[in-house]
């Protein structure tokens, strides 16, 4: 009851001097708003990373032909991975699947009088396991298809919708380049990547057919997808693969790799590398704002204690104990920082919304942000409120009333 009465007076006290109260809150508002925005960006980035990793596969390593910087899939024209590479990688311990595939982007596809372009991949049956993606209808590429160089294909949803709308395309023929292929299955839907790549604008044909009949690359393999038994082995196995390939490709010590390995750890590194500097900078702003805000509050509270000497003396004269005065001033400081925290949280959410609209960066305001906002406001209120409150509580009533 007593506590409640003291608390209800706080906001009256703050509203008596609105400008001062607002200035006291400003640092906290900026600090908390920045904090909320950072958290939202981090959460958004994490979501993005998780989405990318899930699409990529958390326990997958992609082996690209050709060195240089990381980019999209390697096309057959630059293929330089050998069958020996494939065998050697397969024999590395803890490697579960090695799925070689040929890739050609934007191949012309024709059905009756309709044209489109799609990515065409020549794959072994294990492609389905390596990507956890098989045929949703009909059959995927079978061992027999590869052995007999069959001209069959499995088409993605985008291709299917382009040509066949709602009718069943299985058993019909279409032209990839100038070669006729029979459709034997529909590929499971995958959707688009966060970057906008359509994973369903894809046609899978047997590996051998692609190498010999369509893409003219009988010797080399464009890409391999390696699946390991456990994501924690990614780093070691990547190193082993790199070693095997360098040896097989007779690369001298100072020569650069003529292949490229990517795995989820590298994707995470790449995305985080960009955002980390920004995060550190923003965190610094948030921290400094909170500290400066706290110091401002402490200063104004100290001035306020001097100004309100008579009030403090009077309160003591009518029966306030030192701890009542201490409590009153700590609560006043807390009222400032918590109000500032709430305002800061609202400003932060607005900031996040504006940022989403302007930059279309994914961001997410979470309940953790709310808890942290309250937590930091509380801590700042206590840390910077105690000193002025103690000064007030220590005042001698007879002196203060003079």
């Amino acid at each position: 009851m007593k506590m409640f009465r003291l608390t209800t007076n706080l906001f009256k006290e703050l509203s008596k001097n609105k400008m001062r109260s607002f200035l006291m809150m400003l640092g906290i508002i900026i600090g908390i708003a920045t904090l909320v925005i950072i958290l939202a960006i981090t959460q958004g980035a994490n979501k993005k990373i998780m989405a990318r990793i899930n699409i990529f596969g958390p326990n997958a390593i992609m082996v690209h032909s050709g060195g240089g910087k990381m980019r999209g899939p390697s096309s057959v024209s630059e293929a330089n991975l050998t069958r020996k590479d494939l065998r050697d990688i397969s024999s590395i311990e803890d490697v579960k699947i090695v799925a070689p595939f040929q890739v050609k982007l934007d191949m012309p596809i024709k059905y009756q009088s309709k044209f489109t372009t799609a990515t065409v991949m020549g794959a072994m049956p294990n492609w389905a396991n390596a990507w956890k993606r098989g045929a949703s209808k009909g059959d995927f590429i079978q061992t027999e298809d590869v052995e007999l160089l069959k001209k069959v294909c499995v088409i993605g949803e985008t291709v299917k919708n382009e040509f066949f709308a709602n009718s069943n395309p299985i058993g019909t023929d279409l032209l990839i380049g100038k070669v006729k292929f029979r459709i034997q299955g529909i590929l499971q839907k995958r959707g688009a990547s966060p970057a906008g790549t359509d994973f369903d604008n894809l046609i899978i044909i047997p590996f051998s057919t692609a190498s010999r009949r369509l893409m003219n690359q009988p010797k080399y393999i464009a890409m391999m997808r390696v699946i390991v038994d456990d994501p924690s082995h990614l780093k070691i196995i990547s190193k082993q693969i790199s070693k095997v390939l360098r040896r097989n490709h007779h690369l001298a010590f100072q020569e650069e790799d003529d292949f490229k390995l990517t795995s989820s750890t590298q994707i995470v590194k790449m995305i985080k590398g960009v955002s980390n500097t920004l995060h550190i900078f923003l965190l610094l702003i948030a921290g400094l704002s909170l500290i400066v805000g706290g110091i401002v509050i402490m200063n104004i509270m100290l001035i306020s204690v001097s100004e309100r000497k008579k009030e403090i003396g009077l309160r003591k004269a009518v029966g306030a104990r030192s701890k009542d005065i201490l409590l009153q001033f700590v609560l006043e400081s807390l009222a400032v920082t918590l109000s500032g925290g709430i305002l800061g949280f609202i400003v932060g959410i607005l900031g996040v919304k504006i940022m989403e609209l302007v930059t279309s960066t994914p961001a997410a305001v979470s309940w953790e942000a709310l808890v942290l906002s309250f937590g930091f406001s509380f801590i700042v209120g206590i840390i910077f409120g105690v000193q002025p409150a103690r000064k007030a509580a220590r005042l001698d009533p007879a002196e203060a009333l003079k």
């Binding site: 008579k310 009077l314 003591k316 009518v318 029966g319 104990r321 030192s322 701890k323 009542d324």
Partner: protein
């Protein structure tokens, strides 16, 4: 009669800057009976305010003993003193010391915030009624005259139903009419059985009490009973008549 206040050989020494010491009170002894209306009179610097601070448990004597309502106050903790101020004492100051931008009712409620009472608004309204400010309860101090402000302060002193009202120059900032109004409130409270102690430098004001204790240079120089105390209410009526005549 019961002695509600008993001061025995009280000395209060202030030290300024560590080296210079000021003896505000020297060997002061005094008794005040329950229900008495007493004036402590002296010039400024005589130590009368120091004496009032000690009687009001706002300061501790350097030496000597002080009994309030039979209990020795010397050994009590600060928190206990705060409790005594809250329960047994009501203060009225020369500068009123009302909280600014806070209405009369809330000002009067203030002592109750530090008590265990729950009916604070009702008690505060009653106290304001006693001092004749029932229709001013939602006025801020800035909207009240000096006399009204001092009466709010008296209501604040009364709200806890204390044994003793301590008033330090309560008329010092008021014109004679407002001063008389305030004194008449004290006289009424005395008539109702409260112990009232009035600190003043004015003989005229002191004549309204039943007993005057003189203090000079930190020492009590004597006391006298007032045979026929002035009646503030009568004086107010005379004042009104005089104004009517001159007009």
């Amino acid at each position: 009669m019961d002695k509600i206040i008993q001061a025995k050989a009280i000395t209060k020494i202030y030290s300024k800057n560590g080296s210079i010491t000021v003896k505000a009170l020297q060997n002061v002894s005094l008794d005040i009976e329950k229900g008495e209306f007493t004036a402590i009179m002296g010039a400024s610097g005589s130590g009368k305010s120091t004496l009032m601070n000690i009687i009001g448990c706002l300061a501790r004597p350097t030496s000597g003993e002080y009994f309030l309502d039979g209990g020795n106050v010397n050994n009590l903790s600060d928190d206990d003193l705060a409790k005594i101020r809250n329960h047994k004492l009501g203060f009225v100051f020369q500068q009123f010391h009302l909280l600014p931008r806070t209405d009369a009712l809330e000002n009067v409620e203030l002592p109750l915030l530090y008590s265990d009472r729950s009916d604070i608004t009702k008690l505060a309204q009653q106290a304001l009624e006693i001092v004749g400010l029932k229709d001013r309860i939602h006025h801020n101090p800035a909207e009240l005259s000096g006399g009204q402000q001092q009466r709010v302060a008296i209501a604040r002193a009364l709200v806890n139903n204390p044994e003793i009202i301590l008033a330090d120059e309560p008329t010092g900032n008021l014109d004679s009419r407002a001063g008389l109004e305030v004194i008449s409130v004290f006289q009424r409270l005395h008539a109702e059985g409260k112990t009232v102690i009035l600190v003043t430098h004015s003989q005229e004001i002191a004549e309204h009490t039943n007993k005057i204790i003189y203090i000079k240079d930190g020492k009590i120089t004597g006391d006298e009973s007032v045979q026929k105390p002035l009646n503030a209410r009568d004086e107010l009526e005379n004042l009104t008549k005089e104004t009517e005549v001159t007009e």
